[in-house]
């Protein structure tokens, strides 16, 4: 019966449309499979010690009950703890392979512990299982992005995410969990489009608790999916109150304020203000200034709907990557909200390709640690025979020349992308288009009525 119904439906669609749909489906399938094969090839063969450390802490949590001992990234650590509970039964004799020092802030996994892990008989399986959540997250992100755009852009958007070297490097080569938080951000948008704004907000908040990047998109979300300004302000007040309550509760329980701990000890706060212009004997940090300017400018425009959020969010993420010192794994945040805009304009794709190329060169700044050393599961002696990219670059050009030039170009291309995204949005180019038929996008609520 189902076959007959399908045939009838197909008869109703013109042949050329069927052919185009078939080609599109084959292309999408090819993209999915190509990305999957690349990821499968990398999963058991590469990792950064960050991956080992987060699972070592998960082992501490599960075996010693130290579920809250690592305070740096509580939410994302809990996700890993739970996943470790699931996978440990498939890792025979794994008790001796984990680090005892990963949970000690400022010390971390010792070389001898890493050696032990590398000599584990089921190393390939361990790495595969440890990275599996990131593979799923990448996959879900790809699917969510295709839900955000018009059907004709889906293959392009999927390719731009799923085959993106930045994404593959971060999730699969480096073995970094940022893709999990990106799921929260993209799912929040999809939920908001379908009218579940509050659920989306909660997801975005969770994403922000896991990694600090989504926190900067929060004001854009509240404003873009508001019913009225009064509601937006109320929501902002509720969030601030909730945070204050959380802060006071933790302060009461532990004697330490999370806010002050974050501001006083978390190195990323320093990153946010590290680029500053001297004004007399004062310093004006560029990122907070740029972010505030962007937000104020954006708030001053008609800014409801997914396009508005995607534009503001993408520009914010690009601003963060351009104007603060970043570790290699952070660059993935430049991608997810940018992808729907890249699909609209080939020039943006070229600029993004240039951004990736500059990023790859910039990786040399960290040397073998984030390049050849990632391949240690394939043989440590093999990796040690390859020259350190940092030293290769230094032999070609003085470091004080090539690093500022590459970083400057990377920041320029990244900022240009942010600017082009805002221009496209202002020009009314629909990144999210009519896909999904969400409630907020194409029928903005009349503020007068809502109030």
């Amino acid at each position: 019966m189902r076959t007959i119904a399908r045939e009838r439906r197909q008869r109703a669609i013109p042949e050329h449309a069927q052919a185009a749909a078939g080609r599109e489906a084959a292309l999408v399938a090819a993209i999915w499979v190509a990305g999957l094969l690349v990821r499968l090839a990398l999963m058991p063969a590469t990792f950064h010690s960050d991956l080992y450390q987060i699972y070592s802490r998960a082992n501490d949590a599960v075996t010693h009950g130290a579920w809250l001992s690592w305070s740096g990234q509580v939410i994302i650590q809990q996700v890993h703890n739970l996943w470790f509970l699931v996978i440990e039964r498939w890792l025979p004799d794994n008790s001796a392979i984990w680090s005892s020092y990963s949970g000690v802030a400022g010390i971390g996994a010792q070389p001898s512990e890493l050696e032990r892990f590398l000599s584990y008989a089921y190393l390939g399986r361990a790495l595969f299982l440890m990275k599996l959540p990131y593979l799923v997250a990448d996959l879900v992100n790809g699917w969510l992005l295709t839900r955000l755009v018009e059907p004709r852009w889906r293959a392009r958007v999927l390719a731009l995410w799923w085959l993106n070297p930045l994404v593959i490097y971060t999730s699969m080569m480096f073995g970094r969990h940022d893709s999990l938080s990106i799921v929260a951000v993209l799912a929040a948008i999809v939920l908001a489009r379908r009218g579940a704004r509050l659920a989306g907000l909660i997801l975005l908040g969770l994403g922000g608790l896991a990694r600090f990047f989504p926190v900067f998109a929060l004001p854009f979300y509240i404003a873009a999916y508001r019913r009225s300004w009064r509601q937006a302000l109320l929501l902002a007040g509720v969030i601030a109150t909730l945070w204050l309550c959380l802060d006071l509760t933790v302060l009461g329980l532990t004697g330490q304020s999370p806010t002050l701990t974050l501001l006083g000890r978390y190195p990323h706060v320093r990153y946010l203000i590290s680029l500053a212009l001297p004004v007399g004997d004062e310093m004006v940090p560029l990122l907070p200034m740029g972010y505030a300017l962007l937000l104020l400018w954006w708030l001053n425009r008609p800014n409801q709907g997914t396009d508005a959020f995607l534009a503001g969010g993408a520009a914010t993420m690009l601003l963060l990557i351009a104007l603060m010192p970043f570790n290699p794994q952070y660059a993935i945040w430049a991608v997810p909200l940018l992808v729907p805009w890249l699909a609209l304009d080939s020039r943006l794709i070229l600029a993004h390709a240039a951004q990736i190329a500059l990023y790859v060169v910039w990786l040399a700044r960290w040397g073998s640690n984030v390049t050849w050393d990632l391949f240690q599961p394939l043989g440590k002696d093999l990796v040690e025979r390859l020259p350190d990219p940092q030293l290769v670059a230094a032999a070609l050009l003085p470091t004080e020349v090539w690093q500022p030039v590459v970083r400057g170009l990377f920041a320029a291309v990244t900022l240009w992308l942010a600017w082009r995204v805002l221009v496209l949005w202002r020009a009314g180019m629909p990144a999210a288009g009519a896909a999904g038929g969400g409630t907020g996008d194409h029928a903005p609520v009349n503020e007068e009525q809502a109030c």
Partner: protein, 464 residues
Amino acid sequence: MLRAILQARRLMRGHLPRRSGSWGLWPAALLGLALYLAGCRAPVALVSSLPPSASTITVYTSASQPFYSAHDGLRGIQLRVNVPTEFSPGQTPALTGGASLRVTYEPDLDPRYPDRDFYAWPESEQWLGELVDGRTVGQTFRSLYPGLNGITLRVSTYGADFSPGTGRLREGQPAIVREAPFAGREVTVLPGGTEVEVRSAREGWAEVILPDGRRGYVDQDQFASLPPPSRRNTGEVILRLYRLSDGALLRESRLPASTLHDQSHVTFAFEPLPDSYRQEYRFTLTAAGARPGSAVTFRFSPIDVYPEGSRLEGNGEADGDLIFRPAYAERMLVETPLDQALWSGLTGVLEVTFEPTGPTRDCYLRVTIQAGDRPVIVHWSWIRPPGGLPLSSADDPGAPAGGLVLNALYAEDVPVLSVLGGLARGYARLFWRDPWLTAAYIAVVAGALAWVARRARESWSHGG
């Protein structure tokens, strides 16, 4: 290589249908050429950036800097110097006024052999006991430099230099008393002809006790008379060097036991082995004509202080290691005039380049700057080059404890094919050890390929 690529391109053109334009094989050829070139030599620097200068030293005669060289194919040295901008009439404008730069091996500073500190006699080390006729001791080791020409060990003669008692210095020759033999700090100067209490010998120096209770060392040659020795050692000590892989005897060196000093370093010298870089050897020590009571002994560590080799006793391995250090014939890697170097106004360094030389991987090298007609002003930094050793200046023994601001450039061979083979072996190892993972991969990959093939077939069936 280029010719081979062009020939391959012509051949392919003959057999493959010609496409519009002539771009078909160029990308592949260029990629092949890039891979070939990249696979041959990679430029590598010693450090990623030069350290900040603390100040400068003026080199009137020479200054040098040892460093650990991690790469092969040394092809250049960058040195931060001040170059003159004005020249007096008649003076030839030259960057350094005829200065030159030398690079040599510095095996004596390599800390990877058990004899790490010439002056240290730690209590954790012990003497082997008399090396008498019929006893064989030895050690395996890896030579880290070319030109192996000796083995230095620590020997004791059980008081064969002199007995404790009173010695008398030579008339008219004041003797410097030092805290340690050779280069120890000066304690005092004793007038010639002084009688002084001597206790023991070390490195051919006598340990003296001054009237005020202080101790020090005086060269035994400064003494007109010393108490008679407690014993006289007889016979010869024989060192034989074998190649470890096949046991072939390569060199032999003999020293009469009577010429050895108590508690001293002794080098068994032999003809240099030019190809000793990264080769493994075994040496043995035996005695001929040495009876109990007239034999010497050698120093060893009962704990393993040299993981690259093992101590030998008789025909078998024993715990610990002999305290030894290989000796090498001096070999100049590079000597080049500094005036021909390139000056960078951007970084303030002189860069001198030369044909790649070596081997220089995993070695300690020394860069020496020899001044020419005028002094050279060289920058130094509190951050020393890799290896962590301080600079030294012939003009100023009290030179700063930092390092010269320098970088070394290399053209290192990268074995691309071997690395690719290693990658393949690494993958094979990962999957070979875990059949479940292999099965899961085969299933997932086959499923994914089948799915995409079905989609493609559907697309074609719709005329796509």
